[in-house]
Symmetry: C2
Subunit: 189 residues, 2 copies
C-alpha cells in the first residue's frame, strides 16, 4: 500500500521491513479529485503530503485576486506549507490538486513520536529538507540570473513533459509573468 513511499525512503537511508512496520501506524492515505482544494488560507496545515500519483500546486492570491503559484509537486515529492506545518500558524496558501491524486501523509501532531519511534525516518526527513533547500537555492539563483524569457525557455527545455500536465497560464504564474507575455514569447519562435 505504501511501497511507493518505502522505495523513496530506501533511496536515502537504510530502511528495514521492521522500520516499515513501525512507520505504518503513522501513515495515512487520501484520494482527491481533480481541482479539489486540500488547504486554504486561515487553516493550519496539519499534514505533510507525499504525492504517490498525480500533481499538486500551492498558490497565493495577491491583492488583485490573481493566483501566484509557488510550488508544483509531482510523483515522489513531498508538499506542505512548511511555515504553517512547523510553526502551527495559519497558512496564507491554497493547496490544490491539479490532477486526481493519491496521497500519503503524516500528521504534524504525530511527528515527534514518529521520529522517536523510527529514527531512520528522521534522517530521511532531514535529507528531504536539505534537498528541498537545494531546490529553493537553485530557484533563487534562477530568478536572479535569468530574464523572464530566458527562464521560460530554460524551463521548457529542461522539463518538456511538464508542459503537457499543466495549463500554460499556470506555468506563467509559477515563472512570475503574465499569460499574455507568455503568448508573446511563444509567438516569436
Amino acid at each position: 500500500m505504501y511501497t511507493a513511499l518505502y522505495n523513496h525512503i530506501r533511496k536515502y537511508v537504510a530502511f528495514a521491513d521492521a522500520d516499515a512496520a513501525a512507520l505504518e501506524p503513522y501513515l495515512y492515505k487520501k484520494e482527491v479529485k481533480r481541482k479539489e482544494i486540500l488547504l486554504k488560507p486561515g487553516q493550519v496545515c496539519k499534514d505533510h503530503y507525499f504525492v504517490k500519483k498525480g500533481l499538486v500546486r500551492m498558490y497565493l492570491m495577491d491583492e488583485k485576486d490573481t493566483e501566484k503559484i509557488t510550488t508544483f509537486a509531482i510523483e515522489n515529492w513531498w508538499v506542505t506549507d512548511n511555515d504553517s506545518f512547523i510553526t502551527g500558524q495559519p497558512t496564507e496558501y491554497y493547496m490544490q490538486a491539479i490532477e486526481a491524486c493519491e496521497l500519503i501523509y503524516i500528521k504534524a501532531a504525530e511527528r515527534d513520536a514518529l521520529f522517536k519511534t523510527v529514527p531512520a525516518y528522521e534522517s530521511y526527513t532531514r535529507m528531504i529538507a536539505e534537498r528541498a533547500l537545494v531546490a529553493y537555492q537553485r530557484r533563487v539563483n534562477f530568478i536572479n540570473m535569468m530574464s523572464d524569457e530566458e527562464r521560460y525557455r530554460f524551463f521548457v527545455e529542461s522539463f518538456p513533459g511538464f508542459l503537457q500536465r499543466v495549463p500554460q497560464y499556470m506555468l506563467a504564474s509559477y515563472l512570475g509573468f503574465t499569460p499574455q507575455f507568455m503568448s508573446k514569447i511563444r509567438a516569436k519562435r
Copy 2:
C-alpha cells in the same frame, strides 16, 4: 569556546554536557578578516559555517560581472552552499566576510559520523534545515507579492539595524534591483 553554538542548539533540542563533549571533536574554528573570501566558484564547499560573530554574504557574478547577493548570515545563523556541500559538486558562489568574523564549522566529510555519534545533533540539523526552508518559502512569497519598492520599504522597516551593517548597494543587490533605483526610491520620501 563553542558555547554560542551550544546555546543555539539548546533552543531546539535537549543537549546534555555529554552531548557537547561528544560533539566537540567535530567542531572547528576560523577567524576571518573583513572582505576575506571563504569560498569561490569552482571550489567544493566542504564546510558548514555557524556565525558566532560577524556578517557573511554569498553572491553570484552574472554575465555582466555584476554581483547578485543571495544570502546574508549574521550571528547565530548557519551558512553554506547547500548544493555543493550536500552533492559535492563545485560551487558557483562566492562567500565573503563583510565584517571580521568568528566562525565555528563542521566538515562535510565528517557529517555522517557526527550524526551517528550525536543523534541530537542530527535532530537539530533537521530543525535548522526546516527553518531555512521556511525562510526561503517566505522569501519566494516576498518576491511574488511585492514590487521592488515595496520590498525595499518593508525590509528597511523590518530590519532597521541591518542597514547600518551593510552598504546600500549590497541591499539593492539582495533585493534584486540597481543602486540607482534605490537612490531614486530613497529620494522620494
